[in-house]
Symmetry: C2
Subunit: 328 residues, 2 copies
């Protein structure tokens, strides 16, 4: 296919490229009839602007880089979906990169994306403790689902402490006393926050004495195993507050095969409220997040930043809600 350029259109119409350019871009100072003529002819000839050329002239390409752990994780999948929809509304597109929670992958991704000429970046950082890990980002960016202490970054995240608190409080209120929490090794905002909320509820319940904090670390795949090992050796656990629904599902499966009844013997609460939480049995009680909101808001803010707007508010925090079902 031969590309139709602005020059071709100009030639046919006996106009200059500049006039055609102005007409196409709805600039002032161009005769209305000329504009019509140009636009009609352009359409007729199948003219499409060359975005590279525009970009070279300092215009935006309309690309947003997305750096996340794993797009197949149902939590991120929903977030990305929200991002995508919002981006589309503004004529932007998403450039997706999975990091598998690997820091060097993230560094590489950020570098790469900028080379591709993205106008901005949406990132759920692998580490969120050292703010200057964001230094290599030279374009506007928004942090998604993470929070850097004392940073000036634009961030969209969840009140994880509240989530952890809500779950643990509910367990406590329904009579559970030996509540174990199982979280990933990673020291990221969500793990810190959820654990903190868990401790807070415990502390509150015991009048300041945090005497029964049972904290396990595990990968999602091993959650069941680690939990089983703990129960076998320590015994007496009557509730589990899992990092997320995947952990919770693993926990339930493991407890069941160990002969425990869920929730009779052991209650289990998850986090994220993925769509499948409804179908498992017992139906999963989970801390629910509006994932679409997370993605949508992040993109909305990023696009504002790209278009040069200065945001007065930098932190956008969502309050999670406990969705009580049968597992706890």
């Amino acid at each position: 296919m031969v590309r139709v350029t602005i020059r071709d259109v100009a030639k046919v119409l006996n106009l200059s490229v500049s006039t055609v350019s102005r007409a196409l871009n709805d600039k002032e100072d161009v005769d209305e009839r000329t504009r019509i003529r140009v636009k009609t002819m352009a359409r007729e000839m199948g003219y499409t602007p060359n975005l590279m050329a525009k970009a070279l002239k300092g215009k935006t390409l309309g690309l947003l880089g997305v750096v996340i752990d794993d797009n197949a994780n149902p939590f991120y999948a929903e977030v990305v979906k929200g991002m995508e929809r919002e981006a589309k509304r503004h004529g932007f597109h998403l450039l997706l990169v999975n990091t598998a929670a690997d820091y060097s992958e993230q560094v590489f991704a950020i570098d790469f994306l900028q080379n591709k000429g993205v106008d901005g970046i949406l990132v759920a950082p692998v580490k969120d403790t050292i703010p200057n890990e964001m230094d290599p980002i030279k374009v506007p960016f928004v942090i998604v689902g993470r929070h850097f202490e004392n940073s000036t970054f634009t961030e969209v995240y969840n009140d994880e402490v509240l989530g952890g608190y809500l779950a643990t409080k509910h367990l406590l209120d329904s009579g559970r006393r030996k509540i174990v929490t199982i979280q990933p090794e990673m020291d990221i905002f969500p793990t810190r926050g959820r654990t903190e909320g868990y401790r807070k509820a415990l502390r509150e319940f015991s009048n300041g004495l945090l005497d029964e904090s049972l904290e396990l670390k595990s990968s999602p795949e091993e959650a069941g195993l680690i939990l089983k090992r703990y129960v076998d050796s320590e015994g007496k656990v009557d509730a589990v507050f899992a990092y997320n629904d995947m952990y919770a599902l693993e926990a339930i499966a493991s407890l069941k095969t160990s002969g425990f009844k869920v929730p009779e013997d052991v209650a289990v609460i998850g986090y994220d409220d993925i769509p499948y939480a409804v179908y498992v049995s017992p139906a999963l009680t989970s801390v629910a997040l509006d994932k679409d909101w997370l993605g949508r808001t992040a993109v909305e803010l990023l696009i504002k930043m790209i278009s040069g707007k200065v945001l007065k508010k930098k932190k956008y925090i969502q309050k999670p809600v406990l969705r009580v079902r049968d597992s706890g």
Copy 2:
């Protein structure tokens, strides 16, 4: 940040831009020591090539467009993940667009992606009956998970007939006789194929007489409702072959609330074998697909096409496998 260009490097080194360009791109005809000098200085000055400018000169941008129904669908999520990994291996990036199975969205997406300068497109078409719906694609493309009859497109897909056959045969073999299948309205390769496989198994079993083909149409959300309505009015169903695992989960939920035991009263088999199939109860029997392979292979082929290779083989077909668990 001020962008460092090839010209800046040239000036500092007292060389011409052309020499610097050649040195950087490892072309012939440039003194080895000059090359070293240039590369060192370029790194030192923090030079990064402007991809737009390269693209304008007809070079590739390294972008692959992905057009699918919904990235949050666990099936596509896994496929996209496979694509992403393979693309990364080759230095490519993914531009994601969801169509929500809407044809006009697809048309728009394809147009848009090409404007963004993608080097190729991976598409799971919304309709796969009219080959010339692909006409607007002017770049290399690969069809994913769909198959156009008699087309010359490069396609990576599954043997859906076999999948439907396997599931139905298994149901028949385990003594089920009133097997209903529930499929989406859409006339796409997977629905056609799975239904055909279902009919084939029935026909085979009844010695050529396809006397008990019970075919229901439904959206995923309404699958439970539609099924219930059918069972209530027609009664006597002892097995369900669902379009995919979402349909199967809805079916199971609906059957359970109607007082049926799964699988004792009614067996249910799904399709896709999503990760959550293991956790529901009863654990879902499902037709399993290697989603990663699908994504990986599609990208591999697309990149070959982009680099000008001519593929002798155009159709890449995967044989599904029945993963028998508890539901059927």
